[in-house]
């Protein structure tokens, strides 16, 4: 018998269940793109059959880090840039949990960049949503790793001399097996992509364009947006790494020219998740490890049985 009965529970799920009963109103600025992420999660989770208590939402620091204050699941609001290592360990400890990590572009592509690369490389079975507003919001508008070249801010008074990071391309090279970009202004697509990302077995990375009306006023509201799957101007195979790479590169290039391309960019359903890979080499227990601690009949190996090699 499981010690975690919220997991896999079959029942009707009301989308309001994900709205906190106390203080449901986020503290984000009016018009903030972060509302779009929250809304799409609240829609997608019931749709894929998840209940609040079988989901662990792990966030970093920044406006985006407050996501789990307003999404009623188990939440872990961690430290700047470190949502991924916390999240992937929780998934390893209890492989039945639904784990969603989230944070901003500074959090995920800057200070946490190393974790992003390695979590994608290992293809941990989880969803990672990056609130990409091309700015540091909560610290009041400094240039971020995705800010366009020439972007002026208090910390880059002459305009940034740095070319922005290419989040989609980096994700692909690192090894993510589901990569998409959506935008807060495109709620239907956002919901669908989040749902697909949650259901994907492996590391699903969603670069979520979230406009910042307060600190990035000169930036676009990410409209008009183009869905690369729906537009006739674009034709590529999301399962083809080469074609995906080219499409990503173009998408990253044109964003700063005002063309907002969104959609699915890469989907690899064949790559085994890290959990599967680790189990295959015999280094991940079949049953979720966390269950064992609640099982009174579990047998525990003792160091005493290892002593022969020392005698």
């Amino acid at each position: 018998m499981s010690a975690f009965n919220a997991i896999g529970e079959e029942r009707e799920i009301d989308r309001d269940e994900f709205t906190p009963g106390v203080e449901p109103q986020p503290t984000w600025c009016p018009g903030c793109g972060d509302f779009g992420v929250l809304k799409s999660l609240k829609q997608a989770l019931p749709e894929v059959g998840k209940t609040p208590e079988e989901v662990l939402t792990v966030t970093g620091i920044g406006c985006s880090g407050k996501l789990n204050s307003y999404l009623d699941t188990y939440g872990f609001h961690t430290i700047h840039g470190r949502s991924l290592p916390v999240a992937r360990a929780a998934k390893l400890a209890n492989t039945d949990l639904e784990v969603i990590a989230a944070g901003g572009d500074g959090d995920g592509y800057g200070i946490g960049g190393n974790h992003f690369v390695h979590t994608a490389r290992e293809n941990h079975d989880m969803t990672y949503i990056v609130f990409n507003n091309e700015i540091f919001g909560l610290t009041k508008g400094q240039t971020s790793p995705t800010s366009p070249k020439g972007h002026k801010s208090k910390t880059q008074p002459s305009g940034s001399a740095k070319t922005p990071i290419r989040p989609l391309s980096q994700s692909l090279t690192s090894g993510a097996s589901y990569i998409a970009r959506t935008a807060a202004v495109n709620p239907n697509q956002a919901k669908e992509i989040i749902a697909e990302a949650i259901e994907h077995d492996g590391f699903a990375h969603v670069d979520f364009l979230t406009q910042c009306p307060t600190w990035n006023k000169d930036a676009r509201q990410y409209v008009p947006y183009i869905d690369v799957q729906e537009s006739d101007d674009y034709d590529f195979d999301v399962t083809d790494r080469q074609e995906a790479a080219e499409m990503m590169h173009e998408t990253e290039d044109v964003l700063n020219e005002g063309t907002v391309l969104t959609g699915r960019y890469y989907v690899d359903e064949d790559r085994p998740s890290y959990q599967e890979e680790k189990a295959a080499v015999g280094e991940l227990p079949e049953e979720p490890l966390a269950e064992r601690y609640f099982d009174d009949d579990a047998e525990w190996e003792r160091s005493y049985d290892l002593l022969e090699r020392h005698t």
Binding site: F4, E23, H77, L84, A93, H115, L289, S303, T311
Partner: protein, 668 residues
Amino acid sequence: MSILHESSLVIYSKVFRLCGANSEYGWPLATDPPMSSDELIWRIAGGSGDGIDSTSQNFAKALMRSGLDVFTHRHYPSRIRGGHTYVEIRAADHEVQSRGDGYNFLLSLGDSFARNPQEEAYYGNEEIKPLSENLDDLREGGIIVYDEGLIGEDDIEAIDLEARAEENNWHVFPMDLRGLAREHGREVMRNTAGVGVTAALLDMDLEHIEDLMADAMGGDVLESNLEILHEAYETTREEYEFEHDLRVPEGTHDTEQALLSGSNAIAYGAIDAGCRFISGYPMTPWTDVFTILSQNFPDMGGISEQVEDEIAAAALAVGASHAGVKAMSGSSGGGFALMSEPLGLAEMTETPVVLIEAMRAGPSTGMPTKPEQADLEHVLYTSQGDSQRVVFAPGNIEEAYEQTRLAFDIAWDYQIPAIIIYDQKLSGENTNVDVEFFDREVSPDLGSTLTEDELREAAHDNSGKFKRFNYEDAENGVASRSIPGQKGGRYLATGNEHSPVGHISEDPDNRVAQMDRRLEKLESIREELDEERESTQTYFGDETAEYGIITWGSSQGAVEEAIERLNANGHSVKGLSVSDMMPFPENEVTEFLESVDEALVVEMNATAQFRGLLQKELGRFGEKLTSLLKYNGNPFEPAEIVEGYEVNLADEDREPTAQVRIEPAAGD
């Protein structure tokens, strides 16, 4: 073929007996180590990558199996191939707590990866180092066996071995170990030849050595090694009439013994505490524990993760613990520095976790393979805000096991990070322990964690959120926790200050209530350690003494031995070795310091960090506390502590001859 070079007999015959003091540093005879033949301290020296470590482990085990107590000390460079390295094995028919002073048998194998000598090279002449670097510590009357297959006559002359041997009454045996190994097998087997010569010179039975070889190898390799072992043994016995007194001591054990290192003990303590998750990044000397658990966990249904950096390593341990498993991570100084933030997160979110910190000489990369106790303040205070953690510093192998288990118990009962601070010395030293010591039950209990049934009875807010951080119902500062996936347990964990359900809160009343509750846990832990558990502090010496020596962590053994020696020489000294670094054992240490007029604080660092901690925690005794500090990369030998005591007591302008520093008491 004889492995004896003809000149060996010449050198040997020239040896003449000199009486008098021979001390590493030349201090008075009274403090010299006992010259009894009841102990063997065998030093095997060579280059890194020459198999010194594995040879020594087997030899130590053979000595243990013959009924002796053993203690090993490993000295090695931060280098894979080549560079001066040695392992010392001290063996006696009585308990041995430290490496001892100096040593009495050198097996010098030469460095097969030595760099070519060059004028003024920083690394000196590496070809001769396996011999030359070891001579200062060799006791009077000691034995030298060196491989003349690797160490040439010119080199021997250059270091003036003959004259030094005469002066110190050393017995020198040049042997062509390399030649013998080549003849019967492969060159790498010259270690075996050296062991054979050692056994012959010490009158030591080959039985245990042969058994251990048979355990470790088979087929042709075993055959060649046995052949080399016997050839070396027989030839040595046939060719020599020994004049030296040193023989292998004889002893017996009443119970079966196991040879373990501090790293083994920490890893085994973790296994028996029910830990089944470890995340880490390689760094000397912490890597040992990480490796041992990584090799054992898969067979135990556990999980080991080698990750991108130490920030991730500690964050993974926090994440795994949050999701319901007993998890640990660890590192050495520099890697532990990266763990500061996840450590603080564990404090704020009250996530139980055990971290271990294997100190090495700092700052920065420092001396990666050398011991030091200079990360104490780092471990106690790193990470922003008021520290809310538990820190234990075990003093020997048994304590390393016990205190690791204790760290897990406390971490999960009180939902607090617990840290084991140890060092390169304790990490790598092997000593024998009763096998029965480990015959214990595993304690996988998650402490103050609720089941779903218990959660139904627990307090929730109006919207059904579990009051995870409920200061109103907390006991000893502990509010029970739930685990993600449990029905009725959802809450938010956050590194921000938070309300009872975990929501971010900057309300002053809530802040004070939460901070006070978290700090109350430390008081409760201290109370439990004082009242419900056996003290983790270690006492030795003369209870009525008015002079004390106080130390912490791995310096314990050398201090214990120094105190025994002082008391045997008519002094009256008592000792205290402290393991609880945080929360500090105020009562015990106060009682000890009140009972003495003066105390010497012995630690391996340059800034007297532990003395500082004593004064900070106790707020007094400054005028009683003199420090004896060592930070040259080598652990204390008992004689150095004896000398430090005498110099301090003499109250005159005398400097210690050892490479240590005496830091006078406040006001002195």
